[in-house]
Amino acid sequence: LSQTVEHGFPHQPSALGYSPFLRLMVIGTRSGAIKLYGAPGVEFMGLHEENNTVMQIHFIPDQCQLVTLLDDNSLHLWSLKQHGGASELREEHRFTLKGPPGSPPSATQVTAVLPHSSREVLYLGTESGTIFVVEVPSLRVLEDRSITSEAVLQRVPEDNCNRRACELVEALREHPKNPDQILIGYSRGLIVLWDLQNNKVTHHFLGSQQLENLYWQRDGSKFISCHYDGSYTQWPVSSDNRQPEPLENTVPYGPFPCKAISKIYWQTTKNGLPYIIFQGGMPRASYGDRHSISVIHGSHQTAFDFTSRVIDFFIIFSSEPSAEFDDPAAMVVLAEEELVVIDLKTPGWPAVHPPYLASLHCSAITCSHHVSNIPLKLWERIISAGSKQNIHYSAMPWPIDGGTNIAPDPPQRDLLLTGHEDGTVRFWDASGVCLHLLYKLSTVRVFLTDADPNDNMNTLGEDEWPPLRKVGTFDPYSDDPRLGIQKIYLCKYSGYLAVAGTAGQVLVMELNDEDAEHVVDHAEADLLQDQEGYRWKGHEKLKTRDGAVRFEAGFQPFVLVQCQPPAVVTSLALHSEWKLVAFGTSHGFGLFDHQQKRLVFVKCTLHPSDQLALEGPLSRVKSLKKSLRQSFRRIRRSRVSSRKRRGGGNASEVQEANAKFDQDALQEMELAPVQRKIEARSAEDSFTGFVRTLYFADTFLRDSSRHCPSLWAGTNGGTVYAFCLRVPPAERRMDEPVRAEQAKEIQLMHRAPVVGILVLDGRSTPLPEPLEVAHDLSKSPDMQGSHQLLVVSEEQFKVFTLPKVSSKLKLKLTALEGCRVRKVTVANFGSCKTDDYSENDLAVLTNLGDIQIISLPFLKLQIRYPCIRKEDVSGIASCVFTKYGQGFYLISPSEFERFSLSTKWLVEPRCIVDMPEVTSNNHVHNKSGVENAARKSSSFSYSFVERKSGRLMEHALLNDEKVLKEIQSTLEGGR
């Protein structure tokens, strides 16, 4: 088993970094992970051992190195190195700043990090106001070069500044043209320009407002500061005035009190009108809860409004030192729940569709379904349907395009379908490393819901102020949980799709390349039949729209079956060849003929004593969920106010108290005696009628001479029902009804839930999928030898003979190992050595999070791997296997981990990050007026140019590890 790649959006991101040199972006998370992204397919991941929150990430200029700052105040140096032909991200050094003995922790609490363009040192601003200098890559403090507040204050007029003026370094910025000057911004408003050569303040700027951040104008003649009160100020820097007054002080969303502007960019353009881009600054009272970033360009002003907190953002602009202007191209915003990229070049500033980092959880994932090896035709049709949905996106190519993807092309086209709480199904390209959204299907249109589709948040008129514009797709608040998708089945050959949801709705759809308006045929399936005296206390069924409904190109529903009572659909099967769809709930199951649009039969599986199933437990769950949703909304609001670490002492106290409370609670939990009742399962247990699995098979159900279509159903109480079906031949398919008759009922005496049913043909091969044979993709099943029935319960695997049912084999998994089956599927394992050998086995995920491979047909346990933590119940519940031995499970609400059991099919990132060509004028140091420190590095970059000169040669060399090491050591020596 190998866990290969994480798809989706990192859970709880906490920091963002970007290297214009490498064109790589990096995201840090609260669990200590860092993830680098470049061109699609270029991904790296690193994990800090400490698992602490990543506070800041900075790339070392013009290097394949980056520095992270964690919330335990430790600094970590990571580098991308090539190894075995591919780049790898590795932690090189770690370091924690230590103050003199007896000094308070705040003395060394790092608040600002500036990697100097000389690539030799880092400047670390601290809470105490002292700036420490640390050598790179050794991470050694150069004590004699520290910039203390005493030194800064020497030149500042005494009446303007007291001792406290230099507390807490808020921002450190290097002069864009002169690497010997750095701008230091202190929290209380004082800003000084420090000369590194002469170790003295050359200019000081007396800001009156609490400082948030600083940004240099490209030519270094001005800089801009932003403040806690929602204002920003421009300051001139010239040699004649050592204590200049501000040029301009603006409160963009004044005059009423505004929230802080926490970050600001000033971008010059050829046409002279600058872009001013800043985060926050909204009027406190009315818009204080918005997460906004405003872009001002001349008369154009837009406040991009994000649905989740903005963690950080950066602007991609022309970083060529030779370029005269910034000419910003794109804005990349990392919000708590999604990544949003705005094209700043195209009028209207449209969003760019990211090729990765998709927010899987923009509405909570309720189920997933994987289809391997999609035929090209269907693939293209889905893509074309999806492209019609994406017209509002910018046409700009993805701007973060560093590194080269050298992974082999994905072996086949795979689709991952996710069902969501808001009634949508998303189609993801799961063939390769980048999980990419192809198409989004919404089932909402079929129903009448309380939420008016026109009532979106974007109703603000043109004259509205502030000019808010909603961006991003993250919207976790479904207004009607009944719309939630619970089961999905896609037939890749016919393009038929069946989806089923929380309120007993089953939709059958067909792929249509054009928009269409039509009536959806509607039927009701009363699963209780003649059972009387029951009252469903759960949710009502969904109301349907009368008349024709307009559907956009893509999958369009043509049949709707609603189960009565409208309990959640727990199992679904579609047979595209027989044109039948089967569905089950906690009350029973039914079969619908979607060709003739007729309900064939229903079967109630309910045990008369099972009151719980009748009342609908969801009624209780629903209200709980609603209150949860409300409290999340509250939390979201309160989080905003407690965001900053201002008054640091206080916050950490609170944190400490919280931690202590957590620990106490944990201890209490451990002390409470945990005991488990040992009791045999009985027929009277709750939810025994819950239909867990449905399966269509063409097999010998009644006698060994004639095979016939059959439908199999397995319940929670260990019962298996088999129905013999009579499907009219194609030419009379519309004239004669489909008939069904119960042929068998098997009661497993251990009464464990039946989670899988499978028929093996005469060669002991699982029967092919519907239409698989018709499309020549599978051998036809062996109808000569006798068939076998495999029933998988949570506790046992049992093989029975057919048509006379006698037990042949069994594997009692639970009795032997104490684990239970959670997911089971047939996986085809190919040999990585030869193409003509492959075998079918069962891939099983247990409640302990182990994956076991069990051979067919002899049910022998082949191998077992630990995969998911057993405490990770939602991870285990979300797992899907592919047909070829890969799988996915959710590691957070927004991320799928991909794993592979197969030696043949392995999808994992493999990429190279080359140092871009280092031209001599790419380095400010190589310009005139460079001091000795930079000179050393210029010789280094020379050696680099040399190395880069022959790309062909380089490629050959890269494959030789020895040569690589040599290059490496030369590089390190040079540094």
């Binding site: 005991q675 005496m749 506790e795 190992e817 022998k860």
Partner: protein, 346 residues
């Protein structure tokens, strides 16, 4: 008093209903009685549950002779094999118990407990400090009735005493099977479940294993109270089956009946074909079994590698299944007792 009445052979009903009918026809509604019948061999056999009641009805030819005794002055020795031949006249035994003033037999059990509910097995191969208990969960409504918890126990290891995590019985449900056997007690450490060692397994895993084996649960425990252990004086007894060691201290109140059925198999699944009668699913080809048992043996072997049980002596009986099965599939033929037969009082 003699009564004669008719029953419908195809629908005998349940024992309780029959018992009520007897009390009714004899007009002794609140008197506890023992019910017996003479089978074709002439033995006086008890009727005290649905199974032997149905058996009795099926042997009627066409008459079924039923004997009823007051419970308080019943002569238990009247029951059993050869009772009718041993005692010339069973009626005299039954009807005139006063004639037999000899010392009463030691009452080992009430007739309704004749079926084994538990046994101590493998006494000969286990260390004296351990007890292997088998609980028979028949169709009785009696719950297994116990709880387990995590805990720690002290083991002697080559490195001295070591505290290791273990699984313990934490509670017995009053009236449950576990409590009624008297073989399990709170704080007994659970060492094995059906031959699989539990060390290294979580509480939830052990719970699942026990529930999966609940129809024929074999638990090896180290009793918290080590004073009632079996004291062995010889190693002559057989290697399998339950022990009926005579050396059991009298303080253990349970007794093992005649239970020598070691049927291979566990619960048989039931099939209903074409909505006909439910029946057990038979075994198919024997070839498959060897494969299965092979895998079981492998696993067993593995699981005892580091155990303190003598793995070489491990007997494979505990992996065998229970000896009985129950039918809980709704049986169309099984309805409330129908009182359409005329009651004739002689």
């Amino acid at each position: 008093e003699f009564r004669r009445f008719s029953l419908e052979r195809s629908k005998p009903g349940k024992f309780e209903e029959f018992y009520g009918l007897l009390q009714h026809v004899h007009k002794i509604p609140n008197v506890d009685v023992l019910v017996g019948y003479t089978d074709i061999h002439g033995d006086l056999l008890p009727i005290n549950n649905d199974d032997n009641y149905h058996k009795a009805v099926s042997t009627a030819n066409p008459l079924l002779r039923i004997f009823i005794q007051r419970k308080e002055d019943a002569d238990y020795s009247a029951f059993g094999t050869d009772t009718m031949t041993r005692k010339k006249n069973v009626l005299s035994n039954v009807l005139r118990p006063d004639n037999h003033k000899k010392k009463p037999h030691i009452v080992i059990s009430m007739p309704q407990d004749f079926r084994p509910v538990s046994s101590i097995i493998d006494v000969d191969i286990l260390p004296e400090t351990h007890r292997r208990v088998r609980l028979y969960k028949y169709g009785t409504d009696k719950p297994l009735g116990f709880y387990i918890r995590d805990g720690s126990s002290v083991r002697v290891t080559p490195h001295g005493l070591e505290k290791v995590p273990g699984i313990f019985i934490s509670r017995l449900v009053p009236g449950g099977l576990a409590q009624s056997t008297g073989l399990l007690a709170v704080n007994d450490e659970v060492l094995e479940v059906n031959g699989i060692e539990v060390s290294g397994k979580s509480l939830d895993q052990v719970t699942d294993m026990m529930i999966a084996n609940s129809r024929n649960l074999i638990i090896t425990v180290r009793p918290a109270n080590q004073r009632n252990n079996v004291v062995r004086n010889s190693r002559t007894s057989g290697s399998s089956g339950q022990s009926t060691e005579s050396s059991l201290p009298s303080s253990t109140p349970h007794v093992l009946g005649s239970l020598l059925q070691e049927e291979e198999s566990d619960e048989e699944d039931i099939i209903i074909e074409d909505s006909g009668e439910p029946r057990q699913i038979p075994k198919a080809a024997p070839t498959s079994e060897s494969i299965e048992s092979l895998s079981q043996i492998e696993l067993l072997h593995e699981s005892t590698q580091n155990g303190f049980l003598p793995s070489s002596e491990m007997n494979s009986n505990h992996s065998a299944g229970s000896i009985s099965m129950e039918y809980e599939v709704p049986d169309p033929g099984r309805k409330a007792l129908e009182e359409d037969g005329t009651i004739i009082t002689l």
